[in-house]
Amino acid sequence: MDSINSYLFISSMLFCLGLFGVITRRNAIAVLMGVELILNAANINFVAFSKFNGMNIDGHIFSLMVIVLAAAEAAVALAIIINIYNNMNTINIDDAAELKR
């Protein structure tokens, strides 16, 4: 727990899982959850580098910003998803894409 590597290891694991989710999930909300995982992985990195670089608070600021962004993104994304659902009665991404054609 005193080396940066363990944090980076966890964050990269989290990132890859998030990526996997984004790639494989069909449900838009599940995709969104994958995105959240990726964002969390990034945040861990920010904070970890912040600590191991002499407690530089800039990293914290960034992770704060990311959290805010994540919130905004989640709000907008869910709004879109609900809208799509209202219009098309599905939130499967490929269905939506196909109906668009």
Binding site: L19, V22, I23, T24, I93, D94, A97, E98
Partner: protein
């Protein structure tokens, strides 16, 4: 440069008709009488000038008389073309022929073409023709000869197509031009062969380097000679390009007399005479055979024709064949002599036929008969008493063409046949040449008298119009009388000889044959000597065949003791061949024109419907579909094929490929990641 009248007068002769052409084509309609006086005036002036030259020639009486002048036309440094004129005895005689017949035609046409829709154009084109014909005559180099050659073709095109409302006339004019062009291609190839070897276009240096024997010799020279001769084949309507001349009779009859009998078609012969020194023995043999074949084929065709102009047309072709035969056997001055005499009597024959057609036309017009062909001899008969001047003049010319002593044709034809006979005596392999020549002479006598008998003798075949047949006015009979008189031998044997069977005279003295430039050929003296030996035999034979031909005609058409119908039935297929002109037109049409047009159509189809549509547009389509594919890849993620490709690369994922549906956004993302992976791998290793 221009100092003596021997240069200025020929130049005037050359350019006066051109000026008349320019004036008439632009202002003809506005001038009084549509400007025919301009044309007639200019052409008569040229005739007077030509007579002056002729008198000069006779007074100096020098066989080597020669003048020349030239100017630089193209000068690129090394590549030069000088255009010039050459005035020697040959030129002067030819100029005299051209201007004389042309003047006659102009005067004859005053009446014949009266009231024509395009009267001024007619005279303009006659001027253009006379200009270009004189251009050929005066040329001292191949280029200006070729240029005039083509211009003659155009004026012929314009004049044959004078009544272009008739489809047959339009077709004939096109056919004439195109057939001539085939010959011209050969002419041009010949010019190029000569130039690339010799490096000059002017005659004199060409002859010089040929006699040097180094620049060009052997097969190349033979081919060059034959190429140039091909021009003559086209223009002088020799086999196998003879098909255009009979059709050219669609033009007005005076035009037929001027161009398609006396002058233009003789241009080919003139050229061969002028360029005789370049022909090798092989080339001459080919020329001789072509001449002989033409002579006999045309003569055979003429027997069965019923259109008076067609008979004359085939007779022209046949006589031109004689001339070419003479060139081929080496007695080229005889060819020129025949050209001269033939020009006179054949022009006259055409004028006479024109006179007959003219009165037939009027008579039919009076009878309100517009369906009967005024040129068909079966509708004539017995015109002798109605048109005595025409009759006697035509008879004289017919005697001349048949080769009866006292008339000009006898002398020239005799000289040709003697030369041919001598040639065969020297080269017995070519025995066919005199045989064909004498047969053609016999047939000539026969069909010409057939024409006379059918037209002027016997009973009138169409009684209803017979009363309206009249002698033509004096604008027409004038030339007829003049040219008829010129069919007597005396005009060609002056001043030293009054013997009708001896061809000695100014012509023989002034137009002397030159040696061939080709090393190793017979000299002119040798040829003349051989011909001299054969002379009496030839004379006897030609008298015999002429008599035989005339006798047969008398028996068949005057006495009617031999029925022509029975004869034609007996030799049915021969009759049909002859009547249908040996099916040349049909076969050319079937085996040449139609395949050619089909080729053109299929090439065009290939170009437009296939090459462009499938190949070029195929490129476009290919690019388009390519961009569609890459667009699909880009926008939709991946295509099944690419996934397959990826699966093949990584064998592990092969099993899972089936699970992959055609995904959308996420496939895209997947491949972004895969792409990053690939980049990392590439970067790492």
């Amino acid at each position: 440069m221009i100092e003596s009248p021997m240069i200025t007068f020929p130049l005037l002769i050359l350019f006066l008709p051109l000026i008349s052409f320019v004036i008439l084509i632009f202002f003809g309609k506005k001038l009084p009488r549509q400007g025919d006086w301009v044309a007639v005036g200019s052409i008569v002036t040229t005739f007077i000038l030509a007579v002056y030259l002729f008198v000069q020639m006779l007074t100096s009486y020098d066989a080597n008389f020669s003048h020349g002048a030239s100017l630089s036309w193209i000068d690129m440094g090394a590549f030069k073309i000088d255009l010039g004129i050459l005035v020697d005895n040959l030129t002067i005689v030819m100029l005299l022929i051209v201007t004389l017949v042309s003047s006659c035609t102009h005067i004859f046409s005053l009446e014949y073409m009266k009231g024509d829709v395009r009267y001024n154009r007619y005279y303009a084109y006659l001027g253009l023709f006379t200009f270009s014909m004189n251009g050929i005559v005066l040329a001292d180099n191949l280029i200006s000869m070729y240029m005039s050659w083509e211009l003659v073709g155009v004026s012929s095109y314009l004049l044959i197509g004078h009544w272009f409302e008739k489809d047959s006339a339009a077709n004939a004019s096109k056919k004439a031009f195109l057939t001539n062009r085939v010959g011209d291609i050969g002419f041009f190839i010949g010019i190029m062969l000569l130039y690339s070897a010799v490096g000059a276009f002017t005659f004199a240096p060409i002859f010089d380097s040929i006699s040097g024997g180094e620049a060009i010799a052997g097969m190349t020279l033979t081919l060059a000679g034959l190429g140039i001769f091909m021009g003559a084949v086209g223009k002088s309507s020799q086999f196998p390009l003879h098909i255009w001349l009979p059709d050219a009779m669609e033009g007005p009859t005076p035009v037929s007399a001027l161009m398609h009998a006396a002058t233009m078609v003789a241009a080919g012969v003139y050229m061969c005479v002028r360029l005789f020194p370049i022909f090798t023995a092989d080339a001459l043999t080919v020329i001789a055979y072509i001449g002989a074949i033409t002579a006999i084929l045309a003569a055979l065709t003429a027997i069965t024709q019923n259109d008076i102009k067609k008979v004359l047309a085939y007779s022209t072709v046949s006589q031109l064949g004689f001339m070419v035969l003479a060139v081929g056997t080496g007695v080229y001055t005889a060819a020129f002599f025949h050209l001269l005499t033939h020009a006179m009597f054949k022009a006259n024959l055409f004028y006479c036929s024109g006179s007959v057609i003219h009165s037939m036309h009027h008579a039919l017009h009076e009878a309100h008969d517009h369906d009967t062909d005024p040129q068909d001899m079966r509708n004539m008969g017995g015109f002798r008493e109605k048109m005595p001047i025409t009759y006697y003049s035509m008879l004289i010319s017919t005697l001349a063409i048949a080769g009866v002593p006292l008339f000009s044709g006898f002398l020239s034809k005799d000289a040709i046949l003697a030369g041919t006979l001598a040639f065969a005596q020297q080269n017995p392999v070519h025995f066919l040449l005199p045989l064909l020549g004498f047969s053609a002479a016999a047939i000539t006598a026969f069909y010409m008298f057939r024409l006379i008998f059918m037209t002027f003798h016997g009973k009138p075949n169409m009684k209803n119009i017979f009363k309206d047949i009249h002698e033509s006015p004096k604008e027409m009979t004038g030339p007829i009388v003049l040219l008829g008189a010129l069919s007597f031998f005396i005009f060609y044997t002056l001043p030293s000889n009054f013997n009708p069977i001896k061809d000695k005279g100014w012509f023989k003295d002034l137009i002397v044959p030159r040696n061939s430039a080709v090393p190793g050929s017979l000299t002119a003296n040798e040829i003349a000597e051989y011909a001299h030996y054969a002379h009496y035999l030839a004379m006897g034979l030609s008298l015999f065949v002429a008599a035989a031909g005339i006798l047969l005609a008398v028996l068949m058409y005057q006495r009617q003791s031999i029925s022509s119908e029975k004869l034609s039935n007996k030799f049915g297929f021969l009759y049909h061949w002859s009547y249908n002109k040996f099916y040349f037109d049909e076969n050319y049409n079937r085996y040449l024109y139609q395949p050619f047009l089909r080729l053109a159509n299929s090439i065009s189809w290939l170009d437009w419907e296939f090459y462009d549509k499938y190949f070029i547009n195929g490129f476009g389509k290919l690019t388009k579909s390519f961009s569609k594919i890459s667009g699909k890849f880009d926008y939709d993620g991946i295509d099944q094929g690419l996934v397959d490709g990826f699966g093949r690369v990584s064998s592990v994922s092969g099993n899972f490929l089936r699970n992959i549906q055609t995904g959308r956004l996420q496939n895209y993302l997947l491949f972004v990641v895969a792409g990053i992976l690939v980049i990392i791998i590439a970067q790492a290793f």
